[in-house]
């Protein structure tokens, strides 16, 4: 599996560290349901068969966090963008 880093070009997945779901947003710790929301955020994961948006870190390359679209059935890689471009938490 190779990931096209926007800075370094096409690189093997072994140069990257995987974090996980890129669609999660850190809950508001001041919200009344914060405890439930954090349990959900920290532990509950969907396990989608198909397209997934994931965070990958180019650890042995340029040190950029990337949002990678990956098909979990075929390992086909779709759009790759810099995580910093999407903002949020």
């Amino acid at each position: 599996m190779r990931i096209p880093c926007p800075h370094c070009g096409l690189r093997g997945h072994e140069e990257f560290a995987y974090l996980g779901d890129a669609t999660l947003r850190r809950p508001d710790p001041a919200a009344p349901d914060a405890e439930r929301a954090f349990a959900e955020y920290a532990y509950r994961r969907d396990n989608p068969a198909g397209r997934h948006r994931e965070l990958w870190y180019h650890a042995q390359g340029c040190g950029t966090w990337l949002v990678v679209e990956r098909d979990t059935l075929t390992h086909e890689i779709g759009r790759v963008t810099e995580a910093r471009e999407q903002g949020g938490s």
């Binding site: 800075h7 370094c8 690189r11 072994e14 140069e15 042995q60 390359g61 340029c62 040190g63 950029t64």
Partner: protein
């Protein structure tokens, strides 16, 4: 930066003993190194400030740019490794007047081992572990790659057409990298030459 020689490579021949060695290795000593990381939103200003002060703009893609005084090697977006023989003792003071307000500067002189690789088999040796296409149509003089071989992070660039490559490796990993390099070069013969810039 410490004084004197701290050689990590002992000159001599390993691997195939007959004929000319296919891999020639030299350590580059006496270089001052620094990391340079642009503050948020200041990348273009920093690039221009470097051009004004040193006559070399910071490369914004995976390239190296330099002159006889200093070389800026791209090290990720908004980051560079600075190499110079002109600032022995205090590379931070060398860079700060031009770049101190635009970037974080940190002396790395002792943190890396810098070597140069050449010889007729240099690409064949590197191809055993460096996952970068070094064929001239894909990688040429001035091109830079951050990658890994033998699980050791490498900062690699081509410095001349022969071809000659310069690699910097975090010093504490260098023994492991050297083991990989000598093993990979054994079939071609590996000659460690006297260091560059010693003394």
């Amino acid at each position: 930066m410490s004084e004197g020689s701290n050689s990590v490579l002992i000159p001599g021949r390993t691997g195939r003993a007959d004929g000319r060695a296919g891999l020639l290795v030299r350590e580059c000593q006496g270089l001052a190194l620094a990391s340079l990381v642009a503050r948020r939103g200041r990348v273009r200003e920093a690039a221009e400030a470097a051009r004004a002060a040193f006559g070399v703009a910071l490369p914004l893609v995976a390239r190296a740019a330099g002159n006889e005084r200093v070389t800026f090697v791209w090290a990720g977006p908004g980051q560079w490794l600075v190499e110079t023989s002109d600032a022995r003792g205090d590379i931070e003071a060398f860079l700060a007047p031009a770049l101190g307000s635009l970037a974080a500067i940190c002396d790395q002189s002792d943190s890396r081992v810098v070597i140069e690789l050449a010889g007729t088999a240099v690409r064949d040796v590197l191809a055993k572990g460096v996952p970068i296409d070094l064929h001239p149509r894909a990688f040429g003089v001035g091109d830079v790659a951050l990658t890994a071989a033998h699980h050791v992070g490498l900062h690699l660039r081509q410095v001349s057409e022969e071809p000659r490559y310069r690699i910097s490796v975090v010093r504490s990993y260098f023994g492991s990298f050297r083991h990989w390099l000598e093993s990979s070069a054994a079939e071609f013969g590996c000659e460690v030459l006297a260091p560059l810039g010693a003394g």
